[in-house]
Symmetry: C2
Subunit: 210 residues, 2 copies
C-alpha cells in the first residue's frame, strides 16, 4: 500500500536516492551514514533523514543505513519490484535510441516492442526488435499486459496516439513529443521535453554571461 | 542585461511559455489574453500576469498580449536571440538521435559536430555529420567558438569529458550521462536523466494502482 500523502517534492527525489544507493551497492558499500550520503549527493543530512522518515526510517541511530536494504525498499516504493512492460511508438531517431538503451531492464522495465504508423518502416530492424505496425497495438497491449507507452512521434500526431493507447488500457505515458498531452484520469503522463531543457541551459548560460 | 533576481521557479516556466507562444504564432494568432493563454496552458491567468510582470509586463490591460512581440521578448530573455554552437560528445544511440534532431536550429542552436573517443567510429556518418575524434575537440571548441557540449557518453567516462571540455572553454554542459557532474563555477550543467524520469512515471503509476 502506497502512502499517497507524501509530497511530490519528496517522491521526486527518490529516483536520485535510488541511483546513488544502486551505485554504492554495486561498488560493494554495505553501510552509509546520512552524513556520508549527504556529502556525496550535495543535500543536507537532515533532508535525507527527513525524506527517509516519510517511508518509515530505514536507519539505526549511530549505525547508518544498510545500503542494500535501503536500495530495495526505495525500489519497492518506486514500484521497481513490479516488472512493467512498455512499448515505444515512433521508430524515428528518439524511438530508436530508446529501443537500443540497455539500462531500462535493470530497473524492471521490459521493452515489448517498437511501433510505427509508417508502413515502409514496418519490419525494419531496431536493435533486437523488428518494427511493428501501430495497427497491432490494440491486441498486443491487451495480450501482453503492457502498461507503459513511450510516445516518440511528431508533435502533431502525439495527442491521437495518446487517446488511442489510453483506450487500449495503457496507464502510463512517457511523452517525448513537444506538446502537453491530455489524458484521462486513469493514465499518468511524464514528459521529457528536450528542447525546453536545452532552453533552460541557454538561459542559465546567458545569465552567467551578463 | 539579465535580471538575476528572478526566481528559478519563474525562469523554468519560460521555455513552456515560449513553446505555446511559438505554436500560436505559427498558427497565425496575433493577440491573446492572459485568460485564453491560461486555459490553454492549464495555469492560472494571475500566475501568467505575475510571471510576465517580472520581465516588464508585455501586455496592455483589456487588449491582451501581442503574440509575436511576447514570443520575441521571451526568446531574448532565454538567450535564444544569440546563436549558440554546440558539440555532441558520444556517438552512441543518444548522441546519434540528438545529432539527427531538426528542432534545435529553430531555437538558435547550431550543431557544430559529433565526436567520439572510439577511433573505429571516427569518420562514420551520423545524419549529415561525420564523427570526429575527441582529440580534435580542443582546437574545434576554440576555433569555432563553441559554448555548449552535449555529453552522451557512458557514465564512467562523463566526469573526465566534463573536466576536459570545461578546460577548453565550454560554458554549458547538457548532460545525458546518468551521473551528477562536478563543474567549475564558469560552467552551467543541465541534466537529462532519462531513467529517473521513467522511475517517476513508475512511481506515479504504482500510486494510482494501490
Amino acid at each position: 500500500m502506497k502512502d499517497k500523502g507524501i509530497s511530490s517534492a519528496v517522491t521526486k527525489r527518490l529516483p536520485r536516492y535510488y541511483r546513488y544507493l544502486s551505485d554504492l551497492k554495486a561498488s560493494g558499500v554495505e553501510r552509509i551514514s546520512s552524513k556520508e550520503l549527504s556529502e556525496r549527493m550535495k543535500v543536507t543530512a537532515s533532508q535525507i533523514r527527513q525524506d527517509f522518515s516519510n517511508f518509515g526510517g530505514f536507519g539505526q541511530q549511530g549505525y547508518g543505513y544498510n545500503v542494500e536494504n535501503l536500495c530495495t525498499e526505495i525500489g519497492k516504493i518506486l514500484g521497481l519490484d513490479t516488472k512493467r512492460k512498455l512499448v515505444i511508438i515512433g521508430a524515428g531517431h528518439i524511438g530508436q535510441a530508446l529501443a537500443n538503451y540497455q539500462g531500462f531492464s535493470k530497473r524492471g522495465f521490459i521493452l515489448s516492442g517498437i511501433y510505427d504508423a509508417d508502413e515502409s518502416l514496418v519490419g525494419s530492424h531496431v536493435g533486437e526488435y523488428s518494427v511493428k505496425s501501430v495497427s497491432s497495438l490494440k491486441e498486443d497491449i491487451k495480450n501482453d499486459d503492457i502498461k507503459i507507452a513511450v510516445i516518440a512521434v511528431p508533435k502533431h500526431a502525439a495527442q491521437d496516439v495518446a487517446n488511442m493507447v489510453c483506450e487500449y488500457g495503457i496507464t502510463g505515458i512517457w511523452n517525448f513529443a513537444l506538446v502537453d498531452l491530455k489524458a484521462p484520469e486513469s493514465c499518468v503522463v511524464e514528459n521529457v521535453h528536450l528542447v525546453e531543457s536545452l532552453m533552460n541551459l541557454a538561459y542559465n548560460i546567458s545569465v552567467k554571461e551578463s
